[in-house]
Amino acid sequence: MSKLKTLSDALDGIEDGATVGLGGWIFNSQPMALVRELIRRKKRNLRLVPAPGSIAPDMLIGAGCVAETGCVFISFEQFGLAPHFRRAAETASIKIHELDGPAIAGGLRAAACDLPYGLIPDMCTDLPRVNPQTYQPVPRQPGERAMLKVPAIHLDVLLLHAQQADELGNVQYFGPVFFDVLMAQAAKKVIVSVDRIVSNETIRRDNHLTKLPSAFVHAVVEAPFGAHPTSSGGLYEADDTHLAAYVKASGSTESFATYLDTYVGGAAVHADYCKRIGNPRLPEQATR
């Protein structure tokens, strides 16, 4: 049965207040076409669980869609701090659940395995002080390592971007998978945008690239340049000019409203967005 959906249909059923995972890593494979569609639909009070990210969580926060976010790492690297995340934190306008790598990995693994919590080493940080719900003490026997337990992280829905898939929902990655696969195992619903839909025959020819077999995937959406302005597994690199323009536009409420109007609200469907960024073309080859 085909899992191929339109961008709009794929996001049906996401409620306000849902716990939404975001895949990719900093400027790589952020699920931007799906994020822009969430903003068009004016989703509110979302609880984000972003893998270490940049513009995906930042734009959702800036557009007013977010009540709470986990933060493992939200950064604009060479462009500075994440503008809307930073402002929301400094004005305490959203709730931030401070996390480190072990807590998100342990929590996702626990959810993937239907365990109530995971165990992580106690690194003697200040994280338990500001996030006692996540970092819980466990009794320590003599000679054992000091450990903490972290509750399972269950995602209502996970948004990902990858390079190609077939209609059945077999998703292929030409580059690193980052936390995408682990998050998919912890999610009730997994929605993946891909730069192109290919035949099942093409998928079978390079089956080592299928990192998300169809059983883990609920919907695939064809969205060429769907990770833009971040990169997509070697098909295209991050658009530094656009990222710099986003940071600049984020400097004031007015200029950010103009940005959203240009690239989100005023680009009613993904094809309009592609037009706004100059209709770039994907490379021809099927795989790397």
Binding site: W25, I26, F27, N28, P52, C71, V72, F73, I74, S75, E77, Q78, L81, A82, F85, R86, A89, E90, T91, A92, E98, L99, D100, G101, P102, A105, G106, R109, I120, P121, D122, M123, C124, T125, D126, L127, V130, R140, R145, A146, F174, G175, P176, V177, F178, F179, V181, L182, K211, S231, G233, G234, E237, R288
Partner: protein
């Protein structure tokens, strides 16, 4: 300009590379130009079997003579292996002493080498919100040693105590790190624009190891938020030799990513 003029980023890469040993294992984060350069410079000179992995991307021993973000897909073609993160988290976040070292940046570092990349001011309403912790807690806690590269050196970035401790150094000094159940380890050097700093072996307090050319000890004291230990007169930092810079520029950073930075 002479053939030993270099940028601060090149100086830091060379100083780090000298301390890395053959056969050691390391991890490098996403936005890590100096770290990649240090590892590949060590591999190109005295440590050909140093082993390093891109933290998020899983590419191992990428030897392209161009400095890029370690998460980029182009690195795959230049690597010996490509590992998936769900497997790598076993040795990144749980295993003791798998990595010999990590090289990290920070917003703040304190007198015991604890680091902060989360926030300045109170966590619930910070004056400055940083990017967060990612692997820093695990690497500072579980690697055999770590290095810290500070982009700035002032009283705000070198406070008496970090505003948020998300990377354990020597905690409260002395034996407190191991007393609280962490494995042996902690920071070895701190590199700042002013010099190189290490930690006195018993008290674990930060001390001056060397001063960069033209930097006065008085200036360092004035720009540090705690009392730095000083033993005798600190030497001037041993700057990169012509040979080291030649290897760095011809075999590691051929497009001059580090060279373009501010001059040392």
């Amino acid at each position: 300009m002479t053939d030993t003029d270099c940028s601060m980023a090149e100086l830091h890469a060379v100083l780090l590379a000298r301390d890395l040993r053959n056969g050691e294992k390391a991890i490098v984060g996403t936005n890590s130009d100096v770290q990649v350069a240090a590892c590949n410079l060590a591999r190109a000179s005295h440590a050909p079997t140093l082993w390093w992995v891109s933290g998020p991307g899983g590419m191992i021993n990428c030897n392209e003579p161009v400095i890029r973000s370690t998460a980029r897909t182009e690195n795959i073609a230049w690597s010996e292996a490509m590992m998936d993160l769900p497997q790598m988290v076993d040795f990144i976040d749980w295993k003791l002493h798998f990595f010999d070292f990590a090289i990290l940046g920070a917003i703040q570092i304190d007198r015991y080498g604890n680091i902060n990349t989360v926030c300045v001011g109170p966590h619930d309403k910070p004056r400055l919100r940083g990017p967060g912790t990612v692997g820093i807690s695990a690497l500072t806690a579980l690697a055999r040693r770590f290095y810290v590269v500070m982009a700035r050196h002032d009283r705000g970035s070198f406070p008496e105590r970090v505003d948020f401790l998300n990377g354990p150094g020597f905690l409260d000094g002395g034996t407190s790190r191991t007393d609280r159940g962490l494995p042996e380890g902690g920071p070895k050097f701190v590199l700042s624009p002013l010099g190189v700093f290490d930690f006195e072996p018993v008290s674990k307090r930060m001390r001056v190891k060397s001063l960069n050319p033209g930097v006065a000890l008085e200036q360092v004291h004035k720009q540090t938020g705690f009392e730095l230990l000083v033993e005798e007169t600190p030497p001037v930092t041993a700057m990169p030799t012509a040979e080291e810079l030649k290897t760095l520029r011809a075999s590691v950073d051929t497009t001059g990513v580090l060279r373009e930075r501010r001059r040392a």
